[in-house]
């Protein structure tokens, strides 16, 4: 707003502007007055509202919108004590009357060409013209009043669809109830279908209900959904079992573990899940879930003890931020690479044991171990991890994840250039290697690469990037003179 005023001031004070010279001709005087009036009214408009249509608070909520008003009225009621409340209230509403019938700026503008002025729409609709636009959508009021005890199943369903309460108790015979259900299903209104199902569930024997639903798939889906929603797990499982939908039984039962907070109980529960009729692909995952939690419980107990005793250096130096319980497998592996890297394969917490037990692929293992050891800046471990020995005893560097990824992980953990350099050198793709080496200032690698490429020009260009009088510069010079 102050911005607008500043513009306005600049506008009037600008030297190029020469409107207020009083030697204007007479008939222009009246026009001048008019324009002055216009300018004065302009101040109101411009000052009043910077944003286009509505008054908007900083958070963008239009003043007077519902969510804005909830905050407003709620805050004024919290400081309810006595008299200051109506004031507060009225002050927040002060902006509203403007809203209701205000002329929006853009309508003023657009309006110029069409109508003299465009009243806001809410005004336009409050008069009688509205009837043409909005015919009566609801049923006549009289229909609410009529009442009979003798509705047919079809009429009952229709009445329920219209939101009226009907007594279903009159439908006593199984035949009647099923007709009612079929009518409800034909109406497609889930609300009514569910209502009828609740009635049937209460008044029919379980076996009969299940049997009848088996041939009424739509109603069946609604009942399953309803049971899930209301948490009637036992009935749900009985139903699914009756239908022989064994995989669903298994998953539905497995889902229950999410509601168990106690880890011991959860473990027991998961153990019970292993025997459930999951699909062939899923069963191994469920088994793994159980095994993982079992491991985590053992590791957690051990490590908490270790950490509390305060004798283990690693736990002192890097205190655990959270418990390992219920963490995903890869997170657990990271944890174990961080705290238990050197342990023998026999212990439950050793990384190699985890790798074996859960058949973690090489790639995943190297990636995780690398991240953990790099975080501890244990560069020898990194080296060992990437070194393989062939049967002749020769060693070779190998990275199943690609050396560019190794470099990226090390770099993220602030590895020194000497360490980084070694792996940048091993990046196979020349262009990638050059890019990485340049980015991380591994001068030796850059120079050697250009040397191998016999690229004099690039080598010369690179000279200005290394320090004056450094060993690198010397190396470039000697290479250039020999090329």
């Amino acid at each position: 707003m102050s911005r607008a005023r500043a513009d306005e001031e600049e506008y009037w004070h600008s030297s190029k502007f020469r409107a207020f010279t009083f030697d204007d001709e007479d008939d222009e005087l009246s026009q001048l007055k008019e324009s002055k009036r216009a300018v004065n009214s302009l101040r109101d408009i411009v000052d009043d509202d910077d944003d286009d249509l509505e008054k908007v608070s900083w958070s963008g909520e239009p003043v007077g919108s519902i969510s804005w008003s909830i905050k407003e009225t709620a805050s004024s009621s919290s400081s309810l004590e006595g008299r200051d409340q109506p004031q507060k209230g009225s002050s927040s509403y002060a902006a509203l009357p403007k809203q209701v019938s205000s002329y929006s700026l853009s309508s003023l503008f657009k309006g110029r060409n069409r109508l003299p002025s465009l009243p806001s729409l809410s005004d336009a609709f409050s008069d009688t013209g509205v009837k043409n636009y909005a015919p009566e959508l609801r049923r006549p009021k009289a229909e609410y009043k009529d009442y009979s005890n003798d509705w047919s199943p079809r009429d009952t369903v229709r009445r329920m669809q219209r939101g009226k309460v009907c007594s279903l108790e009159r439908f006593r015979s199984l035949q009647d109830k099923l007709v009612l259900l079929d009518e409800a299903v034909a109406g497609h209104d889930g609300n009514v279908i569910t209502a009828v199902l609740i009635f049937l569930k209460r008044t029919l024997r379980r076996e009969v209900l299940f049997r009848e639903l088996e041939v009424r798939q739509v109603a069946l889906c609604h009942l399953i959904h309803f049971l899930k929603e209301t948490g009637e797990q036992k009935l749900l499982l009985d139903l699914l079992r009756f239908l022989d939908r064994t995989e669903e039984v298994a998953l539905s039962q497995y889902r229950e573990h999410l509601n168990i907070q106690d880890v011991e109980k959860k473990r027991e529960f998961l153990k019970g899940c292993i025997g459930l009729p999951f699909s062939a692909e899923d069963i191994s995952h469920i088994q793994d879930h159980y095994t993982l939690l079992e491991r985590q419980i053992i590791i957690e107990a051990n490590d908490r003890h270790l950490a509390m005793a305060g004798q283990s250096e690693i736990f002192r130096k890097y205190p655990r931020k959270a418990s390992i319980l219920n963490m995903p497998l890869v997170t657990t592996l990271f944890y174990s690479c961080f705290y238990h890297y050197t342990e023998a394969e026999g212990t439950f917490s050793s990384p190699t044991n985890l790798k074996k037990t859960f058949k973690i692929p090489d790639k995943q293992y190297v990636l995780t171990a690398l991240a953990a050891r790099a975080k501890l800046r244990a560069w020898e471990d990194v080296d060992a991890l990437l070194t393989t020995k062939n049967w002749l005893g020769y060693t070779k560097k190998k990275a199943p994840i690609g050396f560019h990824r190794v470099v990226e992980i090390l770099q993220r953990n602030n590895a020194p250039v000497q360490v980084l350099q070694e792996y940048v050198r091993l990046v196979e793709d020349v262009e990638t290697r050059l890019n990485l080496a340049t980015k991380y200032k591994c001068h030796d690698v850059v120079i050697d690469t250009y040397r191998d490429l016999k690229d004099r020009i690039q080598l010369m260009a690179y000279k200005c990037k290394v320090e004056r009088g450094s060993a690198e510069e010397e190396k470039i010079n000697s290479l250039l003179s020999n090329m």
């Binding site: 600008s14 409107a19 222009e28 008019e34 324009s35 300018v39 302009l42 411009v46 910077d50 286009d52 249509l53 908007v56 900083w58 963008g60 239009p62 007077g64 519902i66 969510s67 804005w68 008003s69 909830i70 009225t73 009621s77 309810l80 809203q99 700026l105 853009s106 503008f109 465009l118 729409l121 509205v130 015919p135 959508l137 609801r138 329920m160 309460v165 109406g187 497609h188 609300n191 009514v192 609740i198 798939q217 889906c221 609604h222 573990h257 999410l258 995952h285 793994d288 959270a322 418990s323 963490m327 995903p328 497998l329 995943q364 994840i401 560019h404 990226e408 993220r412 262009e431 990638t432």
Partner: protein, 615 residues
């Protein structure tokens, strides 16, 4: 306040007004002063129908958010709960009512307004808790189709897709049919109905049945819509998974648009006032409303993002030139002219400032500097956006969809958000008509090991919805569909598009292609492909009384209402608007849907709600 609703071919203010009227009627039933307790989810959609001023006129003095505990002290005669029919909300209401001080005088009356439908299940629930009798009025407010813009209606039912395709609960379809009946009551019977998919078939059946059962609904309004096209979301599972590349689509992908509002990081919107240091930068997100009431936004929202920059800079030049004009204004008449335009210019300038800021925010995320392309490093947000897009486009054009994708593997290894991973894996599955057993197993294992075994439930949901599946029979029919429907266009023009494929920079949304082909030359030409897509396709006609049959003026466009059952993306809307504006198109489109979605919100709605981690 709602001028943008009447800007389109069909004046949707009438629908809004019908909604306001029903609301007023209900409020007047509860005589005396009132407080409304809101299910928070509803405030957004309600805001599109009515402002607080309307409620205030009907003696609503206080408004609260629904939460457990004792209701705030408020001296009103009536307490009205505005809620969706959900059991967890009924528990909160029960708690509220039970804690009400019975000794207080005067006593407060309770009422419930269910939105959009009264639920017998909920009432039963309240009855079991012993509080049902406390409510004097229990009614429903059928907020079925909410007008979002001049050509856009949404039911904002977030779980519609899940209910239809996972739980086989057709209640939301019933609401859709009801909404369509309301529309027909206001805008006349729609003479032609086309549809594709099981849900579409259901809705059409329900409409026909409802019409038969309420003969009174035969109205005498001249039909505004010529055609209704009902489309199942599961006919086109591909489109929402891809990243939208229109301006509005990207805003939604990155920041999420809710009920036409978006919340943005405030840094770029700091008010640049003179004399103020940059001390107190706002920390609260900046909230903006986005709709066609804003001239500039209406112009750029549907453009490919790459075409937005040039429009913005052109606008900036025009506005500065317009402000410069004051120096040339010599005569009083000219001054007057200039002055009269000042408010418009101010509005245009602030609108331009906002969108320049938004465009900057988006550009930071979507644009890769040339230096970065071509080698691998730890990806920044923009590099990752680019890589992600590259993979999506490969999949959609049919490249390497049958093997494990390196980029997806990398993302899992770096623990990118699970939703992002699922979006990509599902996209690959859809573009390959299912994954090979080995590939599917590999992804599943990696996901479960990295994100937790409990996600097996989510994976299962995705499989049930058909988003993730095993390729059966070893036949991939996606290439045939892609070629016949020309879903992938290599020579896409983002600046001056000549085809809908510009909205995804190459991929033409299948759903919109179906709408386009229906208008011309008709579906008969693509029978073979239609058979490959799930569900039946059909045509129905609704008889009109003789007086109402339309005699089309020469050159007058047809109006088609496209109803997406299960959700629609902003990019698809943009594509339909593009078709509306085509000079020789001959058809204008109005869009309706159960929910405005993007890949992220969509996948999220299908994920199993997991308990939060214990810390």
């Amino acid at each position: 306040m709602a001028a943008h609703l009447s800007s389109g071919r069909v004046n949707l203010t009438a629908l809004r007004e019908a909604g306001r009227r029903e609301l007023r009627e209900f409020l007047d039933k509860c005589a005396g002063s009132k407080a409304i307790v809101w299910d928070e989810y509803l405030t957004g959609p309600f805001g599109l129908i009515a402002q607080y001023s309307l409620l205030k006129e009907h003696e609503v003095e206080k408004m609260f958010t629904l939460k457990p505990g004792r209701l705030p002290q408020a001296d009103v005669r009536n307490i009205i709960f505005f809620v969706r029919p959900r059991l967890e909300l009924m528990d909160i209401i029960t708690d509220n009512v039970r804690r009400e001080d019975r000794g207080r005088s005067p006593q407060r009356d309770f009422h419930i307004l269910f939105v959009p439908r009264r639920s017998l299940l909920c009432e039963q629930w309240l009855k079991e808790q012993g509080v049902l009798g406390s409510f004097i009025h229990r009614e429903q407010y059928s907020l079925d189709l909410i007008p979002f813009d001049g050509d856009l209606l949404s039911m904002e039912s977030e779980s519609a897709f899940k209910e239809c395709y996972l739980e086989n609960d057709q209640t939301s379809l019933y609401h859709a049919a009801k909404g369509l009946m309301t529309l027909q009551a206001l805008y006349g019977t729609i003479p032609q109905i086309f549809g594709k998919g099981d849900c579409a078939r259901h809705v059409a059946n329900m409409m026909i049945r409802m019409k038969r059962e309420f003969p009174g609904s035969q109205n005498s309004i001249f039909p505004v819509f010529d055609t209704l096209l009902l489309l199942d979301r599961n006919v086109d599972l591909l489109t929402p998974l891809a990243t939208q590349l229109t301006y509005e689509g990207l805003i939604d992908e990155i920041y999420g648009i809710q009920n036409t509002y978006v919340k943005l990081p405030p840094e770029k919107f700091a008010p640049k006032k003179q004399g103020e240091g940059g001390k107190d930068l706002p920390t609260e997100p900046k909230k903006l409303q986005l709709n066609s009431a804003e001239e500039l936004y209406a112009e750029i929202r549907d453009k490919n993002f790459n075409a937005v920059g040039s429009v913005l800079s052109k606008k900036a030049k025009i506005i500065s030139a317009a402000f410069e004009e004051r120096h040339h204004a010599k005569t009083v008449g000219e001054i007057k002219q200039f002055v009269s335009q000042l408010p418009h210019m101010q509005a245009a300038r602030s609108s331009l400032a906002n969108h320049t800021s938004i465009a900057e925010l988006i550009k930071d995320i979507t644009t890769v500097s040339c230096y970065c392309i071509g080698f691998y490093s730890f990806p920044t947000a923009s590099e990752d956006f680019f890589d992600n897009l590259t993979v999506e486009q490969e999949f959609m054009s049919g490249i390497d969809t049958d093997k494990v994708n390196n980029y997806i593997e990398d993302c899992i290894a770096q623990k990118h958000s699970l939703i992002k991973i699922l979006r990509l894996v599902c996209l690959q599955s859809v573009c390959n008509n299912g994954l090979k057993q080995k590939v599917l197993d590999h992804y599943k294992r990696e996901i479960l090991q990295t994100y937790g075994y409990e996600h097996i439930l989510t994976l299962n949901n995705l499989e049930k919805a058909g988003l993730l599946k095993l390729q059966t029979g070893g036949r991939n029919n996606y290439p045939t569909i892609r070629k016949t429907l020309r879903l992938w266009m290599d020579d896409v023009n983002e600046q001056n598009p000549n085809d809908i494929s510009y909205v995804y920079s190459g991929y033409a949304p299948l759903s919109v292609r179906l709408a386009q082909l229906l208008a011309r030359p008709g579906w008969r030409s693509i029978e073979e492909v239609l058979k490959m897509l799930p569900g039946p396709h059909f045509e129905e006609r609704q008889q009109l009384p003789t007086g109402l049959q339309k005699k089309r003026q020469h050159g007058e466009n047809r109006v088609t209402l496209v109803f997406f059952l299960g959700g629609v993306t902003y990019a698809e809307i943009a594509a339909l608007r593009f078709l509306s504006q085509m000079e020789d198109g001959g058809t204008e489109y109005v869009i309706a849907t159960t929910k405005l979605i993007n890949g992220t919100t969509w996948i999220k709605s299908l994920m199993e709600k997991l308990e939060p981690a214990p810390f």
